[in-house]
Amino acid sequence: MRITSILFTAAIISGLAHAEKLAVEKDELKLGFIKLTDCAPIVIAKEKGFFDDEGLSVEVIAQSNWKVLLDNVITGNIDGAHMLSGQPIAATIGIGTKAEVVTPFTMDMNGNGVTVSNSVWEQMQENDPDLDSDKPTHPISSASLKPIVDDMLAEGKKLQLGMVFPVSTHNYQLRYWLAASEIHPGFYSESDVAGRTDAEVELSVTPPPQMPATLEAGTISGYCVGEPWNQQAIAKGIGVPVTTSYDIWKNNPEKVFGVTRKFADENPLTLLALTKALIRAGKWLDETDSSGKLTNREEACRILSQPNYVGADYDIIKNSMTGTFMFQKTDVRDMPDFNVFFKYDCTYPWYSDGVWFLTQMRRWGQISEAKPASWYAEIAKKVYLPGVYMKAAKMLVEEGELTAAELPKTEDGYKPATKDFIDGNEYDGKKPIEYLNSFKIGIKDEGALSGK
């Protein structure tokens, strides 16, 4: 493969002069981001001079929505961007815009929340009196939402929920949360690109910044979105965050840094330099003192609150970024892992993460035909570039920016099987078909399993 050979050459050059900067092919870059707190690694790498250290002059440009962002990356208006994990995969397999997009770096884990409107929250409290307290027990499942959905269905209506993009982590997380209590979120199909076939609730796309206003207007009754939009809702009294993506899947992969394959092929050293800077930014964001307190997050919040970055009020960003999360005015909890930028080998582009998104795309019908397990692995290997990551990380170790202990330890790029889901279902990235078939709601691929 061409990319590996180039990387190999890069390794020789960098190996010999590790104290020197990489001779990047392109030193003036434009990176795109969406105004969400998890764009932090890009912003921090710029503001803390990590890009500069690599000899990169980077302009960071806000994009208005995920579609525009992806289109801009594909057309080359911007060189790389903060992307939803599902986007490079979907683009590569041709859901939506078809283009080969790759990622050498996972930007963060967790960080999303599900918020419902005040009235839905009240009804949930009626259905489950335990919720009617200043600090209800977590995690909150969608079981108390089920009667509301059923009542509405009986009246011939469907509960309307918002998410940010058809191939967003939010879509899959919201669906996972609903389906875990047997609320059917609907299938996608060739003829139903809105994903509402058999749906008991209707999910629609709303840009993140418009979520609170849309919720207040009553167009939707709840949404799944990244920060600061859940904290905005509770701060302004528009809605109540009921659960977070951390509760749905502990330490789930969230955003990635994506570039086109063309860019990666033509600028291997630039990509390596970018990855190095981003890893350093992730590490900086997760720096803790001896007591385990996140030391750099307040400064990060200050930077993110600048109008050219996330731009939301410092206090709102701080709510979730500094290790706490406000569920109700009376219920502010410590969630040290609400945003993870480096810990738990978070930044490594795990093949198993890619496979998980593929299983969810298949589960809800975005992938219209059954595929063998090998296909899942193949696509993950096409999109995720752990080789670039490891090269960058090793260079950082040599430069003394990382310790050897901070390198992810993995043989094959797959995380071990885990049951850290809200429904306790087990996920093993090497067995996608079994995983698909283990769900109560969702498309199952019996044939593919027995046939191949």
Partner: protein, 549 residues
Amino acid sequence: MVPQIQFPTLTADLIMKYKILKAIDISGLNFLSPVVRLIAQEDPRKQLHEIGRFIIVPIVAFAAFLFLWSALAPKHRTKAGEVPTPGVVWDASKGVWLFHKRETAKADAYLMNSAERRKTLQQATTRLARLDALEAEANRQISDIKAASKEKFDAYVAPSKTAYDAKRAEFRTAKINRENSLKEKAALLATQGTDARIAYLARIRENAVTTEQEKEQLKLLKTTYTEAQTKTFPEVKKAQQAITKLAEERQFLSKYSEMLGAGSRESKTTESESLLAESKNKFLTATDGDFYRLGNTVVKSEDLLATTETSHYAKPWTLPKQIVRSLLCVFTGFLVASAIAIPIGILCGLSPTFMAAMTPFIALFKPVSPLVWLPIIMIIVGGFMPEPENHWLVKALDHVPILKNYKVDPMFLSSALTVALCSLWATLVNTALGVASIEKDHLNVAKVLRLGFTARLFKIVIPTALPLIFAGLRISLAVGWMVLVAAEILSTSQGIGKFVNDMYTNGSSESFAQMFVVVFIVGIIGMFLDRIMIIFQRLVSFDTAGSAI
């Protein structure tokens, strides 16, 4: 015997006065003419009256508007935010400007020479040191205020909370009691007849109704309680704002100092130079080893030095720069529109057949919204520019003096073309009308003088149509300016529209105020553009009756 025509003799003062008055008339700033006349002591009573009407009245009206705005704005609030008062908007505009100034300072710092750098760094460090004390003080203050307001808050929330908790406990017990008593009675039903059983049903119904009523009551109390929780105290808000201001300054100063120090271009160049020297030395002095590798390193270091020497701070787009880009974009679109509309308009005016051919297009495309044009144009422009950075047009425009600083990209071109498509109609129709309304006598003059087609076009036809062409251009520019902001919002092309979209997306407490800032900026610029067009229109209109306002 032939009488000489007498012209009034003019004094220098009078000439001056007439010149000023003419300038005022041409620029359409007629409200100023009474002032000039008053200074020239021409019928002071009348002038004062005019000043009252044309200057004082508008000022009073605007003041009344500001007063109403500041009085009404605080009364209108939604959960998403509140309508900013004029004061808040003014503060927001200062904030926007401060951001611009700081980013410009950073960009300057990056390029400063060492003497200047040291001096500025000194100032920044001093200020940073002072900030420590200021921040400590502010933090102390806010903790006091917060403690005080916490008590106030608790006291404020307490009654509604107690009421809610008490009622909830009461209703819960009542409900359990009712259910228990119903269950007791149920035990007896086995031996009782139909009447009793039916009566029992009624009791169950009654219980359900009571429970429902209690729920409603509880809901009301809950609402009061939740609303009480959203109570904020202005002093806390103020103290927080003060802290935010200081923290932002610290953020800026620390980055600024870095850029004045190790992050400056000069420091980086020095670093690269020493790297180069080192690698060169290695290459030249090495006795054995891989000379290919060492040589390569030297060349790479040379390249690195070259890029470092010409590097710039990647400054984020700030509103002033975005405004300039919007203006460039609107003028680009406007020029394209004029270049299309005027020739076609002239042809339409000259030839009824051509006009007939064009009519369906004009009728069909004129009413189409920019929001529809933009995506279509984006696809078309994108099709022509698969690799924008390597496209000849983008490369060529990178050498145009002003444009090169504003990064002409496909988005810019799409926005400009959208502006062009939406604004060209007014010019086209007006030009056609202007050309068609040419006087027959003038054409006769052309015939007598045996003017050729081109001479006739440029000496008779176009001059005749000019006032109407300019009237059309004026409308086009106004339309274009309106369209542009929408196009930029949709295309995320850098400019005022992008600023609006970004600020809206920020969803910060200042967002609404920033939108108001944009309203005024867009309005004022639009007004200026219109004024400029009025001046042009007046300059080309040969009759005295140039249109006012």
